[in-house]
Symmetry: C2
Subunit: 248 residues, 2 copies
Amino acid sequence: MAKIKLADISTRAPKDWDKAETKAKTLKITEELDELQNLLFAEGKHSILVVIQGMDGSGKDGVIRNVLGNMNPQGVTVKSYKAPTAEELSHDFLWRIHHHAPAKGMIQVFNRSHYEDILVTRVHKWCDDETARMRMNAINDFEKLLQEHNNTHILKFYLHVSPEEQHQRLSERMKDPAKMWKYNEKDFDEAKLWDVYMAMYEDCFNNCDQPAWTIVPADQNWYKEYIIATQLRDLLTGLNMQFPGLKK
Amino acid sequence: MAKIKLADISTRAPKDWDKAETKAKTLKITEELDELQNLLFAEGKHSILVVIQGMDGSGKDGVIRNVLGNMNPQGVTVKSYKAPTAEELSHDFLWRIHHHAPAKGMIQVFNRSHYEDILVTRVHKWCDDETARMRMNAINDFEKLLQEHNNTHILKFYLHVSPEEQHQRLSERMKDPAKMWKYNEKDFDEAKLWDVYMAMYEDCFNNCDQPAWTIVPADQNWYKEYIIATQLRDLLTGLNMQFPGLKK
């Protein structure tokens, strides 16, 4: 498989891609998703894990609200991972993750994930390279477990924004009353570590690629949402699910 | 490593092994264990997982009560695994296990364990050989995760009783008022599957051997308890633990 180099991948939709048409398509797909999720739940054979990673301001919350959040919340749960608690730190790094793995019939969304343990931790050198390698192997084993032993289909999305777009979004948080709650002075410090983050992300994409990551151009929210909605719809459609008949 | 053949391993203490002396030694060791567990808890660097498997009537509850149950319950937890619930079955087979993996500083005892998913399930053909192989690989990956990422030291004990001793113990449950609550008619049906159980246990010991299993002669409770107490004591002593000094 070709190695991923983020600098070679555009953060924007292809030129001349029609915004209005795309938004209309996404709306139609989210309606399909609502039906497909109901079928997934009813059939109860498969489970879906959607991992969303990206820099601050890359629009993780927006995807969840606009694409994934339109399905029936009885069958879709979202877990946001923050810095680990003292209890979580007293266990292996996948302990808090495994607990939230999706049950059959469910769609589980991870807003940030176990991947932070080889991203932010490496950028700040809380985790050395050797430990990072061991964690990558453990992640691969863990994702294999979910896939092979619980019919879990995993989608991994990296929301790929440009540093310029990120800077603009973080700055908006200082001005827009509806966004101020998201403002965190430290985000600007993190942004200065951009190149190190990109290197760690690339290492992660290239070593934890079963299944492979989707690099989602994310400077335009409408395009990002379209890509993610499409992938989830295509995955669910491909499962050839059936409503079970009457139980005997 | 030499393959384990249960038929070649005695279910009794070596000839002329002194019962009274052994019981006195075990008592002394359990006192040491109480101190060592306190140190484990105080230091908070290591965690211990004790897996206890064995046929019905092999004395799993007795080991827990007499050897493992004398330590401070704040630092020792026991999880007994029964047939999985509907919720547990909607997840991969290690989901309910991982949740009870020991935190740093803790001793976790499993009374039956994830190994039932390649034992009772195979005996009754609820799990085919291919699935069993995949589960063994998943178990090996999982135990590696605990060992490498949370300093978890795993002891795996098989309580090795003879079918004659088992039959006697199961029969006693029908007569002794203090044991009747353990009586289960189905245990006699399971006992008829003895040879299949032994074959599945051997397959498990030989394929999931990182760390290796200890086959504990278990026809005499005093000898069984001595072996288990000794192994746990030796493991804890070998960790060279230190009380942490004052926090600065």
